[in-house]
């Protein structure tokens, strides 16, 4: 940290008194920076020195009460626990969204309380217990983190599902409370059923909430994930849509109910190695690219070829990665697929795996290991990581500059969950796109979920699409013509939103753009002339 007494912070604060003002406005203040300053100090400074009418909440200033949560540069958080970066150009402070404003930064959380009270958020004892009660430490390990919740409502402010469908999904804080009660052996009430009814399967597991929770509660995994596991395996509490998917995978080895023998049909005209022995790199295509977004598979495979990789796809031998089942909590099924994959890697003696889909990527990289203890034993790459490396090493040379105004959507499974942020951006810049980050600071760690994850796309298609639509409407910068995608799953969902709502923005996978940039007109063979023309005309600014 730098000691600089002279530094002045530029602070923009949301001001609104609904009794007096027709609409909110922002006021600007200059606040001297002092070392170790927190956002709460900034607010106190403004209140003490400029304007005593500024309304905001605080109590403990130690991150223990949850009074002071607000939006700080687009991210919900506790004012007292958020350090101010003296280098920040501008600090923008706003009230939590979702809730009506009482005044300035103070919101009315009544709506939230209603959701909370509805689930009967308290322990129901069957009978008065004997004391001292014998409870072992291991029996409380799962509930301890859930009990840490300080009801700051930050998670609710960040949750994409709450934003679009709070009537269907209780929200992260509700899941935290339900988890604390579901995991409590003393509890006699069926809070797991309540969770199911409160939209247990409507969480996209994007971790937008976990990212900002001041108590670092792992809501998507340790609350939602664990409850799903119990609901699915112990109680058979499953939505019909998901039941169908499970059946599909059992029968077809893919959730789309496609004939698995047609997995590599997209490659027929391209001379792509299928199930080739001796290949060192496995390109795991995934269901969406195999059947729904085949251009992604075609572009990726072609690029791998151009880069000189000794690779293969598995074709009919590729089976589901198990991602959807990890999200649903069907660990038995995941295990089957994980063991199958492990076998494949061993049999073919692959050195590495590359995926198109962020979901497959995360499943191989994190879930097999953390949830099942199964290590595939080889490095797992997302295609963007590999291609960034190829460009660096001169294995891919770019011939055509693409002059398109674009933004980029960080898939949750690729970005926030694994930390791949830079490689896609590097490629975007290298191929010449005029790049702007998503608005409202919703990029990188703070990227907003597309809405498709966690089984939501299959379970609640409308919610998934609406969440993507919200992102297009609110986060895509003015003038951006293209949303660059790096996950066929996000792609598919965004595309649904764009088509349904007739948005003028175009979704294009990063590999498609890279392919055009490398091959120029020859890319027509791979992408088709319509797509090629579309990309080129976007590049000409048409």
């Amino acid at each position: 940290m730098k000691m600089n007494k002279e530094t002045k912070l530029k602070v923009k604060v949301f001001r609104f008194n609904p009794l007096k003002d027709a609409e909110p406005h922002y006021e600007e203040y200059e606040v001297p920076y002092i070392e170790g300053m927190r956002v709460l100090d900034v607010l106190n400074y403004i209140h003490d020195n400029y304007d005593g009418s500024l309304a905001y909440r605080w109590e403990c200033r130690a991150g223990q009460c949850g009074s002071c949560s607000i939006m700080i540069n687009g991210k919900a958080g506790l004012a007292c626990q958020t350090s101010v970066d003296p280098e920040t150009k501008e600090l923008i402070i706003e009230p939590l969204p979702i809730f009506p404003v009482i005044r300035d930064l103070v919101v009315d959380v009544e709506k939230g309380y209603k959701k909370l009270l509805k689930i009967r958020p308290y322990l129901h004892r069957e009978s008065v217990s004997q004391h001292p009660e014998i409870i072992y430490q291991y029996e409380i390990e799962d509930i301890k983190p859930m009990r840490e919740c300080i009801e700051c409502w930050s998670c609710v402010a960040m949750c994409p599902v709450v934003q679009n469908a709070w009537d269907i999904y209780g929200g992260p804080i509700v899941m935290t409370h339900l988890a604390k009660l579901s995991f409590d052996k003393r509890n006699a009430f069926d809070h797991l059923l309540t969770a199911f009814l409160e939209g247990l399967y409507a969480c996209t597991q994007c971790a937008n909430c976990k990212e900002i929770c001041p108590k670092e509660i792992d809501i998507p995994e340790k609350a939602v994930g664990k409850m799903r596991y119990l609901a699915y395996n112990k109680r058979n509490l499953v939505r019909n849509e998901h039941r169908k998917i499970v059946e599909n995978v059992r029968r077809f080895y893919n959730p789309l109910a496609e004939d698995n023998n047609t997995r590599a049909d997209w490659a027929k005209d391209l001379d792509i190695p299928v199930a080739k022995r001796g290949a060192k790199l496995l390109y795991f295509v995934g269901c969406m690219a195999s059947w729904r977004e085949q251009r992604v598979a075609r572009a990726t495979a072609t690029l791998l070829k151009l880069a000189g990789e000794n690779f293969t796809v598995l074709g009919p031998y590729e089976r589901d990665c198990g991602s959807v089942f990890v999200r649903l909590g069907d660990m038995e099924l995941v295990k089957e697929f994980a063991l199958y994959m492990k076998n494949i890697v061993k049999n073919y003696d692959f050195d590495a795996i590359v995926t198109s889909c962020a979901g497959c990527f995360r499943t191989f990289k994190i879930d097999y290991l953390e949830k099942l203890g199964i290590d595939l034993g080889v490095p797992i790459y997302h295609s963007s990581e590999l291609f960034a490396q190829h460009i660096d090493e001169g294995k891919l040379t770019l011939t055509t500059k693409l002059n398109i105004s674009a933004t980029y959507h960080d898939p949750c499974h690729l970005g926030r969950h694994v930390g791949v942020f830079e490689e896609p951006r590097k490629i975007i810049r290298t191929i010449g796109l005029k790049f702007k980050e998503m608005l409202n600071e919703r990029y990188k760690e703070n990227s907003r979920c597309c809405g498709a994850g966690g089984g939501v796309r299959s379970g609640y298609r409308d919610i998934a699409r609406d969440i993507a639509a919200y992102r297009v409407e609110n986060d895509v910068p003015k003038g951006a013509k293209v949303i660059v995608q790096t996950c066929p799953f996000c792609y598919f969902n965004f595309e649904d939103a764009v088509r349904t709502n007739n948005y003028s923005v175009t979704n294009i996978d990063l590999t498609e753009l890279l392919l055009v940039s490398v091959m120029g007109e020859d890319a027509i063979k791979v992408l088709g002339s319509d797509r090629y023309k579309e990309i080129m005309s976007l590049s000409r600014g048409e």
Partner: protein, 567 residues
């Protein structure tokens, strides 16, 4: 008269901390209307900040422990100024109140045999402090919140009570401002429980939250009740010193309980000079004075503290049992598993407050009950760590019980609307446009500085007189000009509430300083450098204040010694 909303309830509980919510849960058993009001949102009261633990002689770790030892530790720790009838009730009922909490759903850390774990705490002969990691207060308060939700107790949030209404020596209601919209509320009640907590905000360096402004003590005084032991303010030995923004944030006693050691800038474990027997786990008063002396005599650290180190402990233990501390310092750039913390004393706990007549928590005003940090007598001249949370439970329950019983046997009394009107005038006069207004923040800044310098850890007549002169000047010259920036609307007018709190702080400070001047001895947290001796012959008595026709009057009241005579 300004508009107001009239709310009738059998029992009104002012404060939603551990005390208030426990009282509400109890009162709700009596099939009465119960309303709880608080200045902040539910679950965010001061109690949630308590870290280290809650005491009860369960004997889970040390089977020798029992209520008698807990009693002795408490009165010894309190330097024999505790009223022993209150202490006896505290320690005898403590285990049942812990079990209540468990019954409501609380989760305490466990021993291998499945019983509640207990850690050592300052000046306790046995390991007696139950805990949930180092956020015990949160666990306690969140549990009580759950239970009030379960029982459907009405909690009105962001309500500031500014005056109690009385008639013929009993309370019959209260006046409040609903901060959310700026409306006046008038409560018509049969009984009131006061549980508004402490007043740490008198001091510049304090562990206390924004709402600890001594409101209840002043409300009680104005309603005709008595306050006592107002000179007794505990300074916690270890609070953060750096960065400036964190000044005063508590470093829990559990750090020393788990084995943390204190070092001065020279690396000397200085407690061996002050208390070689108990070392770091001596009483808070003693450790605070030791730390302050080291700092004042030039053996302090870069930022004016002493070192508190846990680097010799297992990092995993530090990260789990002292999780809050680990994170709190990490955010400030210090990894406490590798580097020592810098700490110094800060104002922490008010032993003084409303005088309750006996273990029913009744006060000398009929219908007015009080419990928790609001009251005096339980902790004497110095509170033991972990004894306050249990105080909130034992006396919170009792306050709720006796207030309910009282309400059962009573009827509502008609409100004297002149009192309402007068109070509204007082409040609105602050919210008037004034050219020469003095903002509350200005008064508070000076007051907290003066109090810290002159009525802090070390006191003497000269310093205390300085403080008193200052306070009298503020009362005469500044409070009449007290004003706020926004006089156009009372909707969430934070500064108006701050102004009212400031008046309470000034008045509480006055009581503290006057009492400290009267007590010409040193006892517990009250240390007079000009009278360093403890004088049991003359001073085993409380200084008790009341208002007579608007004038502060004091008298002495002997300490209630029912079980054990001081040595």
């Amino acid at each position: 008269m300004e508009k107001f909303e009239l709310i009738e309830t059998d029992v009104l509980i002012i404060g939603a901390g551990g005390t208030g919510l426990r009282a509400a849960i109890e009162a709700a058993r009596y099939n009465l209307d119960v309303v709880v009001v608080s200045k902040e949102l539910l679950g965010k009261a001061h109690t949630t900040m308590a870290e280290g633990g809650i005491n009860a002689a369960l004997g889970n770790v040390d089977p020798e422990d029992n209520w008698k030892w807990h009693f002795l530790d408490t009165v010894e720790g309190g330097a024999w100024l505790n009223d022993q009838d209150l202490v006896e009730t505290l320690v005898k009922e403590a285990p049942d109140r812990i079990f209540d909490l468990e019954e409501f759903g609380a989760v305490f850390d466990r021993l291998p045999d499945g019983k509640i774990a207990q850690r050592p705490f300052g000046k306790a002969r046995y390991r007696r402090t139950c805990y949930m990691s180092d956020y015990t207060g949160h666990e306690v308060l969140a549990t009580l919140v759950d239970e009030t939700r379960k029982l459907g107790v009405n909690v009105f949030e962001e309500i500031f009570v500014s005056k109690l209404l009385t008639s013929n020596g009993r309370v019959i209601g209260a006046i409040a401002i609903d901060m959310k919209n700026g409306d006046f509320l008038v409560f018509k009640t049969k009984a009131i429980v006061l549980s508004t907590g402490g007043a740490g905000r008198m001091y510049k360096v304090t562990t206390n939250p924004a709402s600890a402004t001594g409101d209840g003590k002043i409300l009680a005084l104005d309603a005709g009740a008595e306050v006592m032991d107002m000179e007794m303010f505990q300074f916690h030995p270890t609070t953060m010193v750096w960065p400036p923004s964190c000044r005063g944030i508590l470093v829990t006693e559990a750090v020393r309980g788990e084995g943390g050691i204190l070092l001065n800038a020279k690396g000397e474990r200085f407690m061996k000079r002050y208390n070689p027997k108990l070392m770091e786990l001596a009483g808070r008063d003693a450790v605070a004075r030791a730390n302050w002396t080291e700092i004042m005599e030039g053996r302090g650290t870069e930022h004016g503290g002493v070192y508190l180190s846990v680097t010799h402990l297992d990092p995993e233990l530090v990260k789990t049992r002292l999780k809050t501390m680990y994170k709190q310092f990490l955010l400030a750039g210090v990894d406490i598993t590798k580097e020592p913390m810098e700490v110094s004393p800060g104002a922490h706990y008010y032993m003084g407050g409303v005088r309750i007549l006996n273990v029913t928590t009744e006060t000398c005003v009929k219908g007015l009950f009080a419990g928790g940090e609001e009251t005096a007598g339980v902790h004497g001249a110095n509170r033991l760590g972990g004894n306050s949370l249990i105080d909130t439970q034992v006396f919170g329950k009792r306050a709720g019980e006796y207030a309910a019983k009282f309400a059962k046997s009573e009827t509502f009394h008609p409100i004297d609307f002149k009192q309402v009107e007068e109070e509204q005038k007082r409040i609105l006069s602050i919210a008037k446009e004034k050219d020469d207004k003095i903002r509350p923040v200005k008064i508070r800044e000076q007051l907290s500085e003066v109090m810290w310098e002159n009525a802090g850890i070390f006191r003497d007549e000269e310093k205390l007189n300085k403080a008193l002169t200052f306070i009298e000047r503020v009362k005469k010259e500044q409070l009449p000009k007290l004003g706020i920036c926004d006089t156009t609307t009372l909707r969430y007018n934070k500064e108006l509430i701050e102004a009212l709190e400031t008046i309470n702080l000034v008045r509480t400070s006055e009581l503290l300083v006057r009492s400290a001047l009267i007590r010409t001895e040193s006892r517990g947290a009250h240390y007079r450098t000009d009278y360093p001796q403890t004088d049991n012959k003359n001073w085993l008595k409380h200084i008790v204040w009341r208002l007579e026709n608007g004038v502060l009057k004091y008298r002495f009241e002997p300490v209630k010694i029912t079980i054990q005579n001081p040595p």
